[in-house]
Amino acid sequence: MYDLSKAYGLGLILQDLSSSQVTVKDFGVYYLIETKNAYNLQKANILSGLFPSESDKKWGYVFLTLKGKGRMNEIKECKKLITNKKMIASILKKYENIKQPEFFDSKKGNKTLYQSLDLGATKGFREKIRGRTYHEGSQLYIPKEDFLLSLVGHLNFTIWKWKMEKKGGQLIMILFNPSIEGVRIGISPDARDITRNIDKLIRAHRSGISPTLSYVAVSLAKEISEMKERILKFSNLIFGVMVGSGQQRKPYCGGAYPLDFLFNIVETSEKSTEIFDQWIDIFKGTNKPGYEELALSLSEFINYPSRGTLEIYFRNHLRIYLNKDIKPKLYEIDIMREVLRNV
């Protein structure tokens, strides 16, 4: 998550400074960010537009573990740094070539890597334990440049969804990971527009993390299927979930959610938008008590498409259709045929 947010952050900064289209590609061990024009550092003052206003709730997500004055001070410092020419020049110089991520166990000149930027941050900096007393490890610190990049990336590209529960609830963070062919930033519709659209449209699903991820994945596939040209190529969703525990948030789970099945439908089916509309309708309609099983089984099918999971989903759809007053939509015959063709 942290690496991907840095890649998007660097992409946005380059796009603003070069006023040209930027491409972000995932090459497995590194992200490649390409721009057509050279960047102009004199335009650094326009980078303030990459951060939302201080009252925006997104700041609350990235600085989830900070409260009150501490959070406000951090926001003010970040807003200063983003227009600091020296800082931006240092970032751009640092990433002219492939660079390994840097982590430190000392705060001197560095910034804290918060768990809201990457769940792995909670593991801390571990030391060899032979001959020493074991301890839980110290806080992870990262260079200021990387911290700033990650913030820009998260604030512009991460979807945060609260799944509220009686005690605490879960905070789901989702980033769209580009494929090796990449996604563009700069010419609408770009990766940021798509993220914003989906963020506005969906809510966390009451049935759990998996249906929420499937809901987001299907919404993304629908946005892509509606494009005349497939200019944005994503490979998967990178997600992390935090859970409330007393006064703290603790890491719950994380990973990559595959998009191959959905993008295969986009590429091979003329009815892809209709299929995704049908599934989005089901996720929307089942976000209430008593309908959880249908959302879970559809999500299971989308995540692990097989005849077995499809049949379980069909049975649940039929049962809910028969037993509930608010009935999930039935399929048009040609849409059903297209669904079956992809299993």
Binding site: E311, F314, R315, L322, I333
Partner: protein, 101 residues
């Protein structure tokens, strides 16, 4: 034998039985076949459920699929296995017919 589920779905015998199953579930609200079909693993078990299903159709005075469709469906079960046929029949039951939402 592996065959695209969409091809099995389009087979006329599957379509006839699927439509009958759909009518039984949606119109007559008879869930018996839906429950029974879920537990069929072998082709013999499937044929037994099919037999009961035909009797239910007869009792409700619904139009039964023809002998040819019945033979066709049994052949398909032997070729493709129970799971595939079961999924194709359920898919037909979920298809919208005129006037439904």
């Amino acid at each position: 034998m592996s065959e695209k589920l969409s091809d099995v779905f389009l087979n006329p015998a599957i379509k006839e039985f699927g439509d009958a199953l759909r009518k039984m579930i949606m119109v007559a609200e008879d869930y018996g076949t839906l429950v029974e079909i879920e537990y069929t693993e072998t082709s013999d078990q499937f044929k037994e459920v099919l037999w009961k299903f035909l009797r239910r159709l007869h009792t409700k005075k619904y139009r039964k699929p023809s002998e040819r469709d019945l033979e066709g469906l049994i052949k398909l079960v032997d070729i493709y296995g129970v799971k595939q046929i079961r999924a194709a029949l359920l898919a037909h039951a979920l298809v919208k017919k005129g006037g439904e939402q």
